[in-house]
């Protein structure tokens, strides 16, 4: 019996469960600890047609809705974006080390954020926060530059040319960013804090900023999951199967870059999520993008929300930068998955 490899019910349930655990744990834990059961009921109460009494006081409810939930939701969105765009980059470039920052997104966002911080624009000036916007603009400008450079003089632009252009753009922007940062050394700390990634200032504003891009990115990338499987046989064979490899790659790269830029603009640079989550899924759940992409959204989101929980609780009341925690826990975890799956397939 031939079956199409797609996301099984078991993995779908596991992904949804991971998200729910991350939400409840993320909202319950903190300086004022709340009973997970009450948190669950409080959240349920806000669903349409559901009415349950949570037993939380007004103050506790305010903590849930104004402080913790936006942060958890932002963690879910950022993690989902980093993981799903990482998978997509790995697919269109057929490169296991491709990540959401491949084409200069990180360097561009870092440069934009640094400019905003040193110019003092990072403090609130009314209705929008300039820091994420500057990071977003920097990230998109960097990807645009990479694309122009990678396509220049090469009508049949190759994936390798694009990656090399990304390396050049990233190095250049990192140099500019370091220069600006050194000249304005009193803001060094703020710049580093941003670069290392955080969700601590999360409000619903950031969620609202990211959400439309996250939805567009998720929908477009998911729509390409079968095309990414076809692309895995290489450009020429994909073309022989009736696909337009370059057109497909262009659409996926643009949309993934948009999603990654939006995520980075509110969270700072969180490394490793875009590589570790997709590869863990490949090792345990399946290598088809019909499995990898939807599961990346769920598990990437849950992973980052839980990492953020660790980041703000292990050294409370201080906070660890998210990028540090993703790498500290992510790298050994990934090593274990890699080793155990090698043994299983050997």
């Amino acid at each position: 019996m031939i079956r199409v490899e797609r996301l099984g019910v078991g993995w779908l349930a596991a992904g949804v469960a991971a998200v729910l655990v991350a939400v409840v744990a993320g909202v319950a834990a903190g300086p004022v600890s709340l009973a997970p059961f009450d948190v669950g009921r409080e959240l349920l109460d806000h669903l349409p047609f559901v009415e349950v009494r949570s037993g939380l006081t007004d103050r506790q409810a305010a903590i849930v809705w104004d402080l913790r939930l936006p942060r958890v939701v932002l963690g879910l969105l950022v993690g989902a974006m980093l993981a799903v765009t990482g998978s997509s980059y790995q697919g269109v470039f057929r490169n296991p080390l491709a990540d959401p920052y491949l084409l200069g997104v990180a360097a561009g966002a870092g440069f934009g954020a640094t400019l905003a911080i040193v110019s003092g624009a990072s403090t609130d000036v009314g209705f929008v926060e300039p820091l994420p916007l500057a990071a977003f603009a920097g990230a998109l400008a960097a990807v645009g530059l990479t694309y122009l450079l990678g396509a220049a003089g090469d009508r049949f632009r190759s994936p390798a040319a694009l990656i090399l252009a990304g390396v050049a753009v990233a190095s250049f922007l990192t140099a500019l960013q370091t220069y600006v940062q050194q000249r304005e050394s009193e803001t060094l700390r703020d710049v580093y804090a941003w670069l290392l990634g955080r969700l601590s200032t999360a409000h619903w504003d950031e969620v609202r900023l990211l959400l439309p891009y996250a939805v567009i990115t998720a929908v477009v990338l998911l729509a390409h999951r079968r095309a990414l499987d076809v692309l895995s046989v290489g450009d020429e064979e994909a073309a022989a199967l009736g696909l337009h490899p370059k057109r497909t790659r262009l659409v996926v790269v643009i949309v993934a870059s948009l999603g990654a830029a939006a995520a980075v603009s509110v969270s700072g640079l969180i490394i490793f999520v875009g590589i570790i989550v997709p590869h863990t899924i490949r090792l345990v759940a399946g290598t088809s993008y019909r499995v990898i992409l939807p599961l990346s959204l769920l598990l990437g989101g849950a992973f980052l929300a839980l990492v953020d929980l660790l980041a703000r609780t292990v050294v409370a009341p201080a906070e660890l930068p998210l990028g540090v925690v993703t790498a500290f826990f992510g790298a050994p975890f990934f090593a274990v998955v890699l080793r155990s799956s090698r043994r299983a397939t050997a």
């Binding site: 019996m1 199409v4 895995s232 073309a239 199967l241 337009h244 490949r282």
Partner: protein
């Protein structure tokens, strides 16, 4: 479906690789392109598959391919490359299912009829037992069958094979070529292949086309193409062409041994 090419030319990076090639492969026939290394055989095949920008005209079933959309081309012509990419972790069933791509819209999913085509193809190629096995764990001969299976699942009337037997031992070479021949008869496929082994080329093709430096030198039935003079002149090869039970056998001869005619 008849395949007809007129004055096909391909230049890669400004260098002409194939120039002025015309060929005819009527429906249900097998044409094999032979020629020394670098003669442009693979490039010619890729031009027929629409994978490289080419001058001249290619007609499929009397219709010009110019302006044909990629997907429409892929429904008419299936292409098996010389060195196909084996995606890590992909099952044989999933791989053959990729062959249904030209029949699906950009966002569509495979339906029951697509799965039925794949099941039938695997059955025909004796691969049903391998359906869930990762492609990379198959032996060379089995893997080559799976790759032909992907092309077959395209249900295209024209099948292009680039050096399909290169990595196989002689027994598996015969198995694969017999399989292609059987499929050609069963489905009335037009087969165009390239091949290095001249004896096998002569045994399986209806017609041969000898390509040298991108140009057609001679085309015709095997006994007109596989002559000692042609092989000496265009391959720089010392060979004897023997006739064994009606089939041509090309035997290499060491330098110093007198070549008999």
């Amino acid at each position: 479906m008849d395949l007809r090419a007129r004055d096909v030319g391909v230049a890669l990076g400004g260098t002409p690789i194939v120039t002025g090639v015309s060929l005819d492969a009527p429906a249900g026939t097998w044409l094999t392109v032979v020629g020394p290394n670098g003669a442009g055989k693979s490039t010619l095949l890729r031009a027929l598959a629409g994978l490289v920008p080419a001058g001249g005209t290619v007609e499929l079933g009397g219709e010009p391919t110019a302006g044909l959309r990629r997907r429409e081309w892929a429904r008419r012509v299936a292409f098996v490359p010389q060195d196909p990419v084996v995606p890590p972790g992909m099952s044989v069933g999933g791989y053959v299912l990729l062959g249904r791509t030209p029949h699906l819209g950009p966002l569509a999913r495979e339906g029951a009829s697509d799965l039925a085509v794949v099941a039938r193809t695997l059955e025909q190629l004796d691969l049903t037992a391998f359906t869930d096995r990762p492609l990379e764990t198959l032996s060379g001969g089995e893997r080559q069958r799976a790759i032909v299976g992907r092309a077959l699942a395209q249900e295209a009337p024209v099948l292009l094979l680039d050096e399909p037997t290169t990595a196989l031992d002689v027994g598996h070479q015969q198995d694969l070529l017999e399989l292609v021949d059987r499929l050609r008869r069963d489905h009335d496929l037009t087969v165009v292949s390239t091949m290095h082994d001249l004896t096998l080329a002569g045994q399986y093709a209806d017609r041969l086309l000898l390509l040298d430096r991108g140009q057609v030198v001679v085309t015709g039935p095997p006994d007109e193409v596989l002559t000692q003079e042609n092989l000496a002149r265009f391959y720089g090869a010392r060979v004897r062409v023997l006739v064994d039970g009606g089939a041509l056998v090309v035997v290499p001869v060491r330098a110093g041994t007198p070549v008999q005619t």
